[in-house]
């Protein structure tokens, strides 16, 4: 130990247990899945060729990307409004607002999905309320379509969008904005030409974070989509646990994995990743 310690910093002995655990029980099987995407059921790029040959697969991927993009746009937009109001509120109000964000962050995903199921159904609360007021005569189909999936996903993702934006906005020097006002720019001009550009790092981080999290989302699309909105995660689930076919599922997982890693790389160009996740977790 002593002699080894001379070559290796002793800190590594504390890192080793978790590092080995992740390498053996996490990285190992993930590499195995990547391997499977080229070897199951027959060696070669057959699984990837399906992307050209199977319309169903292309449709699933397209649905996933479309739903994720729309979710991301709405979540970041709504998150921006919340974060902006938070940094400009007094400290007590800000803490209260942060409390709201964190509570919604912590409420079980299953509880929330269940609630949306109650609210959005044909005889759900929303439709009943609308009918009582007389806005609509026929129930609106909120569920078993993309609308329901989007409502549920945006609702889940907004807190994730808020936190990186908040971290970014809190570091801004307000004197810059005051200078702009003093030099004669209107509030609107100052926002569009000074404030918004300064929050680009936060916007990029929150956009990519929400997009990445949406890509692999399973629970909400599966329940609120009711089988009508088939996305990649649900397809993988069915392939593995119902039809027991690893090849296609492994190929989709590989695509998703490389997509996520690519986006993480882009994100690391704009912001220290640990700041983003640190913000998410606290």
């Amino acid at each position: 130990m002593k002699t080894l310690g001379r070559y290796i910093s002793p800190g590594w002995f504390l890192v080793a247990p978790f590092l080995l655990l992740v390498a053996a029980f996490y990285l190992g099987p993930i590499l195995n899945i990547l391997w499977l995407s080229f070897t199951d059921p027959v060696p070669g790029v057959g699984n990837y060729r399906e992307l050209y040959e199977s319309d169903a697969l292309v449709r699933i991927i397209w649905t996933t990307v479309r739903v994720c993009i729309v979710t991301t746009v709405f979540s970041v937009l709504l998150g921006y409004v919340i974060a902006y109001a938070m940094v400009h509120a007094h400290e007590n109000k800000r803490n209260l607002m942060l409390g709201f964000v964190l509570v919604s962050f912590w409420i079980s995903i299953l509880v929330r999905t269940f609630s949306w199921l109650m609210l959005l159904g044909r005889n759900g609360l929303v439709n009943n309320a609308f009918e009582t007021i007389g806005i609509i005569s026929e129930p609106i189909a909120f569920m078993r379509n993309e609308l329901g999936v989007l409502i549920g996903m945006v609702h889940y993702m907004v807190p994730y969008a808020v936190l990186p934006l908040l971290v970014n906005m809190q570091t801004l020097d307000m004197r810059v904005m005051n200078a702009s006002r003093n030099l004669g720019a209107s509030g609107t001009q100052t926002f569009w030409r000074i404030y918004l550009p300064l929050t680009t790092p936060g916007l990029v981080a929150s956009t990519l974070l929400v997009f990445i999290l949406s890509l692999g989302f399973y629970v909400t699309p599966a329940v609120l989509g009711g089988g009508k909105v088939l996305m990649v995660a649900e397809y993988i689930y069915v392939q593995l646990l119902v039809t027991l076919q690893w090849g296609t599922a492994a190929m989709l997982a590989a695509l998703m994995l490389f997509g996520v890693l690519g986006l993480l790389y882009v994100m690391s160009r704009f912001m220290k990743l640990s700041t983003v996740f640190g913000g998410t977790a606290s």
């Binding site: 079980s108 299953l110 609107t188 404030y195 999290l213 399973y218 995660a233 997982a253 994995l257």
Partner: protein, 265 residues
């Protein structure tokens, strides 16, 4: 930026959005009080029968128990591994340690469906499918990165001179860790332990893959109830979960406020 109208508009909008975030979950409360035997709103009459059903059902109770066991074990293991790892990386602090840190955060950011596939793939040959160790190990790998983050944040505020002082005064590295480093990073360790527990307590995707009959956690039973979409016991369980979340949040807020006050004085 005091453009009155715009700011007011923004503030009102933000509060409406915050209400949109929190209130939908509350619909579980009236549904859980319905006297009917199917999922519905109570039409003026209220009954606690679904809570009685929840707390007298051996299935639900066993799920509560299993989730608590798995959550507490995961939290303990993840806290130990994550804290050690954070201290180690903090000690090393080189460019390699930053690469390793990024690598170790991956389980948190890689989509859960891929993690679920990975665990399922390996757990089958290892015989860990549908067992407590299998669930706890999988959740620990997902949760320890959270501890790594919270403890690292605490370490960033820790003055390394304190460690040097302790070593200079003759304390061994072990004693220094227990008596000097750990007490200073306690808030980060606690926050990490709590986040790890919540992650495990609420985890469904990996659970769906690596559990079957023996292990039937609370999220799994809720999932089943949601898919069947008939039995109001699910609503009662949802209300209990919301109450637990609020309690956990209140405790967390109180503790972190006390810590903030202590570090200020």
């Amino acid at each position: 930026m005091r453009s009155g109208l715009f700011a007011r508009f923004n503030r009102v909008g933000a509060w409406i959005l915050l209400l949109f975030l929190v209130t939908p979950a509350l619909v579980a409360i009236p549904v859980s009080l319905t006297p009917k035997r199917f999922l519905s709103m109570p039409g003026g009459e209220y009954s606690l029968r679904h809570f009685t059903a929840l707390f007298s059902s051996p299935e639900w109770l066993s799920s509560f128990f299993q989730s608590a066991v798995i959550g507490l074990s995961t939290s303990a293991l993840a806290t130990i591994l994550g804290t050690l790892c954070a201290i180690g990386l903090w000690r090393v602090s080189s460019k390699y340690s930053e690469v390793v840190r990024a690598f170790l955060l991956l389980p948190m950011i890689i989509p859960q469906i891929i993690s679920a596939m990975a665990f399922y793939r390996l757990w089958v040959p290892l015989g860990l499918l549908d067992t407590y160790p299998g669930m706890i190990l999988a959740h620990t790998i997902l949760a320890a990165p959270l501890v790594l983050i919270t403890v690292s944040a605490s370490l960033a505020n820790f003055d390394p001179k304190l460690e040097q002082a302790s070593r200079n005064l003759g304390a061994s590295s072990w004693v220094t860790m227990w008596r000097v480093i750990l007490p200073s990073i306690k808030p980060g360790v606690f926050a990490g332990a709590l986040f790890a527990f919540i992650l495990s307590w609420d985890e469904i995707v990996v659970t769906l893959f690596v559990s079957k009959f023996n292990i039937y956690t609370l999220p799994r039973r809720m999932w089943n109830g949601i898919r069947e979409n008939t039995d109001p016991t699910v609503a009662a369980a949802a209300v209990v979960l919301i109450a637990l979340t609020l309690i956990a949040f209140a405790v967390f807020a109180l503790v972190s406020r006390r810590n903030a006050r202590q570090s200020r004085t």
